[in-house]
Amino acid sequence: MSPAQPTAAQLGLLACDCCGLLSRRAPAGPQRLAAACPRCGAHLHSRKPHSIGRAWAYWIAAVVLYFPANLLPIMQTSSLFDSQRDTIMSGVIFLWNDGSWPLALLVFFASVVVPLLKLIALAYLLVTVQIGMSRRRHQRTRLYRMLEFVGRWSMLDIYVVTILVALVHLQSLAEIEAGPGAIAFGAVVVLTMLAAMSFDPRLIWDANPAQERQHA
């Protein structure tokens, strides 16, 4: 690539992540002071600080919690006659057997597929940035945008449990209680969102062996 397409970082400019204003990088001092955007006051940095490390940390925590989130019951239904524990998957199966397969698919997608794909996609983005891959940048950037957009929808099951718990306390007839899986599941959603937020998509475009990297 020719320097005809310079990035802000290569010219010593910083774009504010928050309001977009371009600033000149302050002359490098002995210690790096966190510069603030002259317009909106946000911290200025060329790339999100410790992007890769932070993203991996959140990723690992999310993977660890992914198991209890799917194995522990997220709710427990007790009625006069029986008591039943539901994990996320058994909730989906219940909906499916019940004949409401569009809902079953929706919940399956939001609660099972999305978190799993998110973890896989994040690992792929992080590894390809770390090995400095310069192919498929467009696709990877698009993948990142999709991750950011779709992550929040996994919260669906948490809200379903919330409403069920609040509504179904019909004295002796039936009672629904939230289970420990709900805590783990909520944590997975929050952690994967944090991991995606820590990742800096500009790193995808930084790796280019043919181009000298001028920023430190």
Binding site: A8, R145, M155, I158, Y159, I163, V165, L170
Partner: protein
């Protein structure tokens, strides 16, 4: 002091793509067009005629609906003469009462606190701006809105309510409450407000007001 800000008076100011950091010149502003990154295709900003005004109007309307949505029960459940109803906050309390403090906090944060503060911050920024004033703490409010936005999940909550209603409808008779309709309308309004909010326009207006109040280059003593 040397101002580190790169000049904004340029008719074709430089902008850097937030997704790939490519520097590019902004094209001449044209109402109704989006400016996208030359390299990665990210949308940099959009030019609208009255985006901020529309955003303010929808934010205020959303504020009213938000109050209604939280004040009335979302659904009422009836089974063999026993009735149960819940508001959103009531649902949070029910979780809390079951020692699910973390989940209760998560639900409270994502469906009540963040959306409420976001609506307040948006009206605080856009209201005075409508009358040609820059609200004190505008930049703080702006930064707050930017970092809080992903955590407001009213639309996901709305879908969650619908799924739980479908689950319950086999067991008992469910009756949608006023708040359910308000939530539905609120989701639409919030989406419309978010899509008409253009940071580029906000800061262009703030910069213009600041330049009007303080024409700095002429102040050499």
């Amino acid at each position: 002091m040397d101002n580190p800000r790169v000049s904004t008076a340029d008719p074709h100011p430089l902008i850097a793509c937030h997704d790939c950091d490519l520097l590019q010149r902004a094209p001449a502003p044209q109402i109704g067009t989006s400016v996208c990154c030359r390299r990665c295709g990210a949308r940099l900003y959009r030019m609208t005629r009255d985006g901020l005004d529309r955003c303010l109007a929808m934010t205020l309307a959303a504020g009213v609906l938000f109050i209604v949505a939280n004040a009335f029960p979302i659904v009422t459940l009836e089974l063999q003469g026993v009735r149960a109803a819940t508001t959103l906050f009531g649902a949070v309390r029910a979780l809390y009462a079951q020692h699910m403090e973390l989940v209760a906090a998560l639900v409270f944060f994502t469906t009540i606190l963040v959306p409420a503060l976001e609506l307040l911050a948006m009206s605080w920024m856009l209201g005075p701006l409508k009358f040609g004033r820059v609200a004190p703490g505008l930049s703080l409010g702006y930064r707050w809105v930017r970092s809080a936005r992903p955590w407001g999940m009213i639309e996901v909550f709305m879908l969650g309510v619908l799924v739980s209603l479908a689950k319950l409808s086999h067991l008992a008779s469910v009756e949608p409450g006023v708040a359910l309709w308000s939530f539905g309308a609120l989701v639409m309004l919030l989406a419309a407000a978010a899509s008409s909010f253009e940071p580029h326009e906000l800061w262009a207006r703030v910069d213009a007001l600041a330049a009007e109040a303080d024409p700095q280059p002429m102040r050499i003593a």
